[in-house]
C-alpha cells in the first residue's frame, strides 16, 4: 500500500529545518566545539564564525552588528526587551502599553511587571479582525509611558499591524521605547527596523534551529540584564554562547530573505484557494482578515471542537494547530476571546500556517479531507 505523505500546515509553530542549515551543523558540531570566548586558536575560530554570523545578520536586517543580540528563543528576547527596558527605565515612569492579542511571552511578562514590580500596563483592545485602534494607542500614551510593545503579525489569526503608523504615533507623541515582536513577519514581509528600539526574531520559524532567537537593540536603549554572568552578548546575557544556533542563524535568514518574494506569491495563491473553498462550508467562519498574513489562515468551525478536528486531521497525516502552540494547554485562546469569539466558536478554531514545503496539491488534499470530516463529523 502506498503511504500517504505528511501534510505539515503548522509553520507558525515551527518550520522544518532547511537542509542547508542541517549541512552546516554537520561541519560545525564536530569541528567547532570550542568556547567562542576562549582565547586560544580553536576558541578564536568559533568566535570568528559567530562574529561573521552577527555581521551578516546585521547586514541582512540593515542594522549595525553591535545591535544584534543572540538569545535562546524569541520568548527570551521578548522577556529581555520588556523586563530589561522596564527595569532600567523605571525611574522615568512605570507605565507600559501593549495589546490584548500579544504572544504569551509578552502578556505574561507584563503581568509579572504589574503583579510583582508595581508597573501599570494598558492592554489595548482589538476589533473582530484583531486590528487595534490607533486612536486608543495615541490616547493611552502618557508622560510616564516608558515602553510600548506591539506584535507585527499576530501568531494566531495573522492580523498585520500597521507598524509605520505605530512608529509615527509612539515616536511623535511620547519618548517611550518601542518594542516590536516580528517573529511571524521575518522572511515573509519586508521589515524596516528604522526607528524601532527593540525587535524580536526567531530562527526556527524560518528554517533555522530551535533554541535560537534575536533581539535587535538600538544601542541608545539601555537594558537591565536578566541573566547576569560573563561578557557574552555585551554582558546582557551571560552564559556560554549557543554557537551552533547563533552561527546558523545567518544562513537561515539569508535563505529566507532570498526567496521571500517568490515564496510570497506562491503561498498567497494557496492561501486564497483555501480561503475560497473553506468559505463555502456552512457555519465556518474565517478569522484571518483578508489583509492578514498570507502565511496564516485561521478559522472557526463550531460544530467540531478543535481537539477532535486536530485528531481527525492528524489521523490522516495532516498537522495543524488550534491556536498558539505556546498556549495550547489552556482552554480558550486570549486572542480568540479578544476578537469577540463566543465560547462555542472559540472552541472550534483551527489555524493553518504555511511555508516553503507547502504545495497546492496539499491544499487540495486538505480541502478533500476537511469536507469528509465535516460530513462524517469526525
Amino acid at each position: 500500500m502506498q503511504s500517504i505523505p505528511d501534510i505539515y500546515f503548522d509553520y507558525a509553530s515551527t518550520a522544518p529545518i532547511h537542509h542547508e542549515v542541517i549541512e552546516a551543523t554537520h561541519t560545525l558540531l564536530p569541528q567547532f566545539y570550542a568556547n567562542p570566548d576562549s582565547l586560544h586558536t580553536l576558541g578564536y575560530q568559533v568566535g570568528d564564525l559567530m562574529r561573521i554570523s552577527r555581521e551578516k545578520i546585521a547586514s541582512l536586517l540593515h542594522v549595525m552588528p553591535q545591535m544584534v543580540i543572540f538569545t535562546g528563543s524569541a520568548t527570551e528576547a521578548n522577556n529581555m526587551a520588556i523586563k530589561g527596558a522596564a527595569f532600567k527605565n523605571q525611574h522615568k515612569g512605570k507605565h507600559c502599553i501593549t495589546t490584548k492579542i500579544e504572544h504569551s511571552s509578552v502578556l505574561n511578562t507584563f503581568k509579572q511587571l504589574q503583579e510583582y514590580f508595581g508597573f501599570e500596563v494598558d492592554y489595548l483592545d482589538v476589533d473582530a479582525f484583531g486590528v487595534l485602534s490607533y486612536d486608543q494607542l495615541k490616547q493611552s500614551l502618557r508622560k510616564d509611558t516608558i515602553l510600548v510593545s506591539i506584535m507585527a503579525i499576530n501568531n494566531e489569526i495573522g492580523t498585520i499591524a500597521d507598524i509605520e503608523q505605530i512608529k509615527k504615533i509612539v515616536k511623535s507623541s511620547s519618548s517611550a521605547i518601542l518594542h516590536v515582536d516580528f517573529v511571524q513577519m521575518l522572511g515573509k514581509y519586508p521589515i524596516d527596523l528604522n526607528r524601532i528600539d527593540l525587535a524580536t526574531f526567531s530562527a526556527h520559524k524560518i528554517g533555522g534551529l530551535k533554541g535560537s532567537g534575536l533581539l535587535i537593540r538600538n544601542t541608545q536603549v539601555e537594558l537591565m540584564p536578566l541573566i547576569s554572568g560573563g561578557q557574552q552578548e555585551y554582558s546582557l546575557r551571560g552564559g556560554t554562547s549557543n554557537t551552533l544556533a547563533n552561527i546558523t542563524f545567518a544562513k537561515a535568514l539569508r535563505i529566507a530573505l532570498e526567496k521571500m518574494v517568490s515564496e510570497f506569491s506562491r503561498i498567497k495563491e494557496i492561501n486564497d484557494y483555501l480561503r475560497s473553498e473553506l468559505t463555502l462550508i456552512p457555519q465556518l467562519d474565517i478569522l484571518t482578515p483578508q489583509s492578514g498574513s498570507a502565511y496564516i489562515l485561521a478559522f472557526s468551525y463550531p460544530s467540531i471542537p478543535s481537539e477532535i478536528m486536530m485528531n481527525a486531521l492528524s489521523q490522516r497525516k495532516i498537522y495543524v494547530s488550534a491556536h498558539s502552540t505556546c498556549t495550547s494547554q489552556s482552554a480558550y485562546s486570549h486572542v480568540h476571546l479578544a476578537i469577540g469569539l463566543k465560547e462555542h466558536a472559540a472552541n472550534g478554531v483551527i489555524r493553518l500556517s504555511f511555508g516553503d514545503q507547502t504545495t497546492m496539491n496539499q491544499a487540495h488534499r486538505f480541502i478533500e479531507v476537511f469536507k469528509e470530516i465535516v460530513k462524517n463529523g469526525y
Binding site: E23, A24, T27, L28, L39, T41, Y44, D48, L49, I52, S53, K56, P65, I247, T248, A250, K251, R254
Partner: protein, 398 residues
C-alpha cells in the same frame, strides 16, 4: 520603447600626462578593469583613446557599476545606451530614458568628438531637450539640473546617458610600480595602503608577528584588513615575518626606553630586504607625526636612518579623525578595532623614549650582532596571496 542602458562609459581621471604616459595609463586601467570584471559573466571591456566601454551583456548593472567605482584611475562612469548617429533615434532614446526618471529638472549636455556629424552641439541640445520636454513631465534647468542628459557623439556612434556616477579617481594601480607596505592590525596602515593604491602604487604587504606573544586572532585580523584592501588592488602579496626571536633579543640587549625605536629600525631593515627582493621601490608606513612615542619627529629621523629606500608616509600630517573617516569609508575601521594584541603593543615599554638620538640608537645596536636575525626574518618570511572576493572554506556555513 524597450531600451536598456547596457554599456558603462568609463572616463579617465587625472590624465594630465600625455604621450607614452597616457598610453600606459589607459593600458593599465584597461587591464585592471578587465581583472575586476572577471567575476561577472559575459562582461566585455573595450578600450579607445579616451574612453573605456564596459559592455554588460546581461550582467547586473548595479553590481558592475559598484565594482567599477572601486577601481582607481576613473573619474566618472555613465550607464549609457549606444545608438547610431541619427537624431531621431537619439531623441527616442533620450525620451525613453527620461520617462523612467521621477519628475526632475534636466539639461542636455552634448560633447561632439566627431565634428563630421551634421548637427552642432547646440542643435543637438535643443532637439533632445525639446523632445524630452514634449514627451515627459521634466522641466529644464540649465544652471542646477537634477539630471544631466549626457550625449557623446563619437565616430559612427552616439552614447546617451542620464545616470553618471563618480569614480574613485587617482591613478591605475601599478602605474607607479610597487612598494612594500608595513601593515599592523591598526587603523592607520590599511588607510596608508588605500591612499598609495589611489596614487597608482601597487602594494605588497609585510606583517610582523611574534607568536606566542601575538595570537592567531591578530594575524586573522591583518588578513581581513588586507582582504578589504583588495577592492582597489585585486591581488595582494602578503609577507608574514616571524619576529619573535629577534624581538626577544631586542628585549634582552636593548634598554627598555629604546626598545621600540630599535624594534622599528629592525622592521624597516627587514621590510627593506623583502622590498629589494621583490623589486619594490619604496616602503610605506601608516605613521603619523606625534601619534605615539615612536612617531615623533625625532623617532622618525632615527628610524628612517636605516632605510636606503624612500619611506612613504601617506598619513604623516593627518588628524586621527580624518584617518578614521577614510578607514570607515573603505570598511577597515570595524576590523581594526577588534581587540587583539598585535606585534607593536605586546612588548610596549612603560616609558619609551620620545626623543631618541641616532647616536644612542646605533650605540645600543652594537651591543649584539642582530644581523643574522634580520637575515633569517627575511629568508623565512612566509608569502601568501590575498585575492578579491576569494571563496573561503567557512563561506559554506553562511
Amino acid at each position: 520603447m524597450d531600451i536598456k542602458a547596457d554599456i558603462c562609459v568609463v572616463r579617465f581621471a587625472e590624465l594630465s600626462t600625455k604621450g607614452k604616459n597616457k598610453k600606459d595609463f589607459v593600458r593599465l586601467l584597461r587591464k585592471n578593469i578587465n581583472e575586476a570584471m572577471r567575476s561577472f559573466d559575459g562582461v566585455k571591456v573595450v578600450g579607445s583613446f579616451d574612453r573605456i566601454y564596459v559592455y554588460l551583456n546581461g550582467a547586473d548593472d548595479v553590481l558592475v557599476l559598484a565594482r567599477l567605482q572601486q577601481i582607481f584611475g576613473i573619474s566618472t562612469i555613465s550607464l549609457a545606451v549606444k545608438v547610431e548617429q541619427d537624431i531621431e533615434q537619439m531623441k527616442d532614446v533620450a525620451v525613453a530614458l527620461m520617462k523612467r526618471e521621477p519628475k526632475s529638472s534636466f539639461k542636455v549636455i552634448t560633447r561632439r568628438a566627431d565634428k563630421t556629424f551634421g548637427l552642432v552641439t547646440d542643435q543637438i541640445n535643443r532637439a533632445l531637450g525639446t523632445a524630452i520636454l514634449m514627451n515627459t513631465e521634466h522641466v529644464v534647468d540649465v544652471h542646477n539640473p537634477e539630471i544631466k542628459v549626457l550625449v557623446e557623439v563619437r565616430p559612427g556612434e552616439v552614447y546617451i546617458t542620464v545616470n553618471t556616477v563618480q569614480g574613485a579617481h587617482g591613478f591605475p594601480v601599478g602605474i607607479q610600480g610597487k612598494a612594500m607596505l608595513l601593515i599592523s592590525g591598526g587603523i592607520d596602515s590599511p588607510v596608508a595602503g588605500y591612499l598609495s593604491n589611489k596614487r597608482g602604487i601597487e602594494v605588497e604587504c609585510v606583517h610582523f608577528q611574534s607568536p606566542p606573544y601575538t595570537s592567531q586572532a591578530a594575524l586573522s585580523k591583518v588578513m581581513d584588513l588586507t582582504r578589504k584592501m583588495t577592492a582597489g588592488q585585486s591581488e595582494i602579496r602578503m609577507h608574514i615575518v616571524n619576529f619573535t626571536d629577534l624581538q626577544l633579543q631586542i628585549n634582552h640587549f636593548i634598554p627598555e626606553s629604546y626598545r621600540i625605536t630599535i624594534m622599528r629600525r629592525m622592521m624597516i631593515r627587514i621590510a627593506q630586504g623583502l622590498a629589494n627582493n621583490r623589486k619594490c621601490k619604496a616602503l610605506i608606513t601608516g605613521e603619523c607625526v606625534g601619534q605615539v612615542a615612536s612617531q615623533t619627529l625625532d623617532s622618525i629621523q632615527v628610524i628612517s636612518a636605516v632605510a636606503d629606500l624612500p619611506i612613504l608616509r601617506p598619513l604623516v600630517m593627518f588628524d586621527k579623525n580624518d584617518i578614521i573617516a577614510i578607514a570607515e569609508k573603505i570598511g577597515t575601521y570595524d576590523i581594526s578595532i577588534r581587540p587583539y594584541e598585535d606585534c607593536c603593543t605586546v612588548f610596549t615599554p612603560i616609558n619609551p623614549v620620545t626623543r631618541p638620538t641616532l647616536h644612542k640608537a646605533e650605540f645600543y645596536e652594537k651591543s649584539f650582532d642582530f644581523s643574522p636575525y634580520v637575515v633569517e626574518c627575511i629568508e623565512k618570511a612566509e608569502t601568501v596571496f590575498v585575492k578579491y572576493n576569494e571563496k573561503r572554506a567557512e563561506d559554506t556555513l553562511f
